[in-house]
Symmetry: C2
Subunit: 330 residues, 2 copies
């Protein structure tokens, strides 16, 4: 599988070396959201996600149980991203000394357990240590998957669709970063993202979805991952992107709101590449079932990269979404 | 499964709550070295281990590739601890910004890949981020296991045996901590521990080993974990503990060397509870095959806890081994 551009992928690429052959029993390896392990007609999907204080969350933004929920939801979202059904969580926890005897641990536990339970997963193990800081959670999410829906199945002509509204979590971060207090809805989007597990299984069940990813790097970045893995170009239509209510008030304008919705990496909605014409007729059923919009935001074309089709100025090449390295280093 | 005493287990216990029922498909859950997932006659074992700069290693002690090797070996040792055969590694990495564009990443990768390859595992995925620090590695090790050899199978009367020599890695840490330079052998024990994968499979193959653990908390602590899980008391014979060469020079005496060998948590040798009389006749075969001693160090008895049988002063109750919380907080 081809990987997208960016400093993070360079490091992963260097980690994988040139060794692209998978070990026996491993059905899916580097480059997708989960590793997939053979197990009869119901393989296991395994993924790991690290959440670090000061990088992925701040203590003055979130309560302990919200930190726990968010950290687990982010890992569980990777299971949704291959249409797997969550079963179990392993929790690695590095607690700063002052937390080791405070109520932080139980709060984190409650949030992790609640996020797991919300999609059918239970904590089955873990590793706890103290560290000089920052608070670090690493969550292993384990699920079962009949046939994993990967990033690389997109075809030229496929429509790109997203679940939910985008930019709410990013607007919460932007508000906090300038000392404000986000709206309840934006705060909720960041503090308590819902892993779209049932939505992913429903989309898989249509039999007409070719590629799936969760939005951890922002729509522009993640549509780019689908495009790169599928050997296509993603063309996004700016006017179609379902920007969350109130993001415009935070960014001070529609163009900046769209930019945030495309680049903020904290939404954990799903993006799929589907057979042309397949999801349109099913849109209302999806919305009724999940109380969540399903929106066509673009398509896959010949070429490479991600392009934004604006209403006025024609296509604009995009740089990709949220990037931990860029954010830290600039 | 019952868990041993200590602050770390208190946090894990609080994380698990009262929910002891395992999810469908999970054969082994909280309390052992790995979670075990059903998969026909060859289940998957999954474990996660976090290694943090300043807690588990220091940069002025180890080169990047040694940090990588050690972090992977510690996770792979958990697979050995259930007699699993390693297959794959997932790598979560939090790099401080100054490392993100330096040679740290490739060095870590090389060490991780080498440790994996040494026991048949390959990197199949991961997650990379930057963090303000410290350098943090979280390794998910995945293997296959016919019938996991757990901590809780020990019986009253069983002999306790350990592989290799103990205290070398702890002596390296003690030497570094007082500003010295450890001997090559002690340094090697800390920087490049060998996961005892083949040794564990051989011991499993005897059919006469009832319980198995790897020495991550020190012999006293880990024999205590076997004892607690098995509902027994561990009686260790001080004069039998195979203290590594040169530890006495570091600690300045035999009693302190024994204490270090019992409590230092960095050896990653194996401890087993075996049927009485079973391993004695096989000891030489083991030593010839693995170039490693196999030593009887005690037995399981009625009761609870861990007791050290000294040559002079009679049994001394032990407090358990290395504990990240105690070490940090005292």
């Amino acid at each position: 599988m081809r990987l997208g551009p960016g400093a993070e992928f360079d490091v992963i690429r260097s980690m994988l070396g040139d060794d692209t052959e998978l070990p026996a029993g491993v059905l899916v390896g580097p480059g997708d959201d989960c590793a997939v392990l053979e197990s009869g007609d119901s393989p296991w999907a395994v993924t790991v996600d690290m959440s670090i204080e000061g990088v992925h969350f701040r203590r003055d933004w979130l309560a302990s149980h919200e930190i726990g929920w968010r950290s687990a939801a982010v890992a569980l979202s990777d299971l949704a991203a291959v249409a797997a059904e969550p079963v179990a969580l392993l929790v690695s926890l590095a607690l700063p000394p002052e937390d080791a005897r405070a109520s932080t641990g139980p709060g984190l536990q409650r949030g992790i357990a609640e996020a797991g339970t919300s999609v059918g997963a239970r904590i089955v193990g873990g590793d706890v240590t103290t560290a000089p800081g920052p608070l670090t959670l690493d969550l292993v999410a384990i699920g079962r998957v009949r046939r994993p829906l990967l990033r690389d199945g997109g075809c030229v002509g496929d429509e790109l669709w997203v679940t939910g509204f985008l930019g709410g979590a990013g607007a919460a971060v932007a508000t906090w970063e300038r000392g404000g207090e986000p709206s309840a809805a934006h705060r909720q989007a960041f503090a308590r993202p819902e892993p779209r597990v049932k939505e992913a299984q429903w989309l898989f069940g249509t039999g007409r979805v070719h590629a799936l990813i969760d939005l951890s790097d922002g729509l522009a970045g993640d549509a780019g991952h689908i495009a790169t893995a599928s050997g296509c170009r993603a063309l996004l239509s700016g006017s179609r992107v379902p920007v969350a209510d109130g993001v415009e008030d935070v960014t001070g304008g529609a163009a900046a709101a769209l930019r945030l919705a495309l680049s903020a990496g904290d939404d954990y909605e799903l993006c799929v590449a589907a057979e042309p014409g397949a999801l349109g007729p099913l849109r209302e059923e999806f919305q009724e079932r999940f109380h969540l919009p399903l929106t066509r935001v673009g398509r896959l074309e010949d070429g490479e990269g991600v392009t934004l089709e604006g209403d006025e100025s024609g296509p604009i090449p995009l740089e990709g979404g949220f990037n931990h390295f860029e954010r830290q280093l600039r």
